[in-house]
Amino acid sequence: MFLKRNCKQVTRLVLEAEDRHLPWVERLAVRIHMHICATCPRFQQQVRLMREATQAWRHYSQES
């Protein structure tokens, strides 16, 4: 199926989404995978925390 992605592909897309706007097919494929996979949502949460951490680090290193 054209929307089916495995964990490795989804992981890469989740990481790339930090730096580029994914095409809608890829966004949809990631969303579908997150519904059926127990593991990848945890990875997505790690990436979200890293985003916040990087922002906090930038603030800490530049303004404090």
């Binding site: 925390l49 951490a53 800490y60 290193s61």
Partner: protein
């Protein structure tokens, strides 16, 4: 009128020499500037140049600040421009190495694309984002990135450049940039997992 004339005189008599004061403050901040210049450029000589140019620019156009943190923020603002100057000047020598080209994703998944070790829950019960120890680990992990991945990550996250600008400055394709950045982010994640989340440091000091 009389008091206006007297004010500067009395200030001059009590305050320390402002020039030597600024010199001391700049000298005190130099190590921090150098640390971030090195993280960005991954070359000691270029980093020294960028910091010297920053301090010189600050010395030539001194401004008064009430808090030390304001002086630092101002210097960091100048440093960012000087770092971009250095990147432009030396971009031909900024290239990838074998470490940059290794794909860490290959080691984390099996043949069918499934996780070998499932990612751990990184929920944030202890408020890691406010922990100075966590910031130090993150900084060490950035330092630990392979050279070109480190430069690109710093351009993106510390200089806050958009991807088009980075591609233009370094003459690389956007596909190449996305690959390098996703590798850098995955390495950071692995580094944080290993050096923090597997066994978080005991709490000592909070950032705010």
């Amino acid at each position: 009128m009389a008091s206006e004339h007297q004010a500067p005189q009395s200030r001059a008599a009590t305050a320390a020499d402002p020039a030597s004061d600024l010199a001391k403050q700049l000298e005190a901040l130099r190590p921090q500037l150098l640390k971030y210049a090195r993280l960005q450029l991954r070359n000691s000589a270029w980093a020294e140049d960028a910091v010297s140019e920053t301090l010189l620019a600050a010395w030539e156009r001194p401004q008064s600040f009430t808090a030390a943190s304001q002086l630092k923020t101002w210097l960091i603002g100048i440093l960012k421009h000087k770092l971009i100057d250095q990147i432009r000047r030396n971009c031909k020598e900024m290239s990838t190495t074998a470490d940059d080209d290794a794909d860490v994703l290959d080691e984390l998944f099996d043949q069918t694309g499934h996780w070998i070790d499932a990612p751990q829950d990184w929920s944030d019960p202890e408020g890691v984002l406010n922990r100075i120890e966590f910031m130090r680990v993150l900084e060490a992990c950035v330092e630990h990135l392979p050279g070109q991945q480190g430069r690109l990550f710093m351009m993106r996250e510390w200089l806050e450049l958009d991807t088009d600008e980075i591609c233009k400055e370094l003459g690389i394709s956007s596909t190449n940039l996305w690959v390098m950045l996703h590798r850098a982010r995955m390495r950071l994640r692995d580094c944080l997992q290993l050096n923090w989340f597997a066994s978080p440091a005991p709490e000592q000091r909070r950032l705010r």
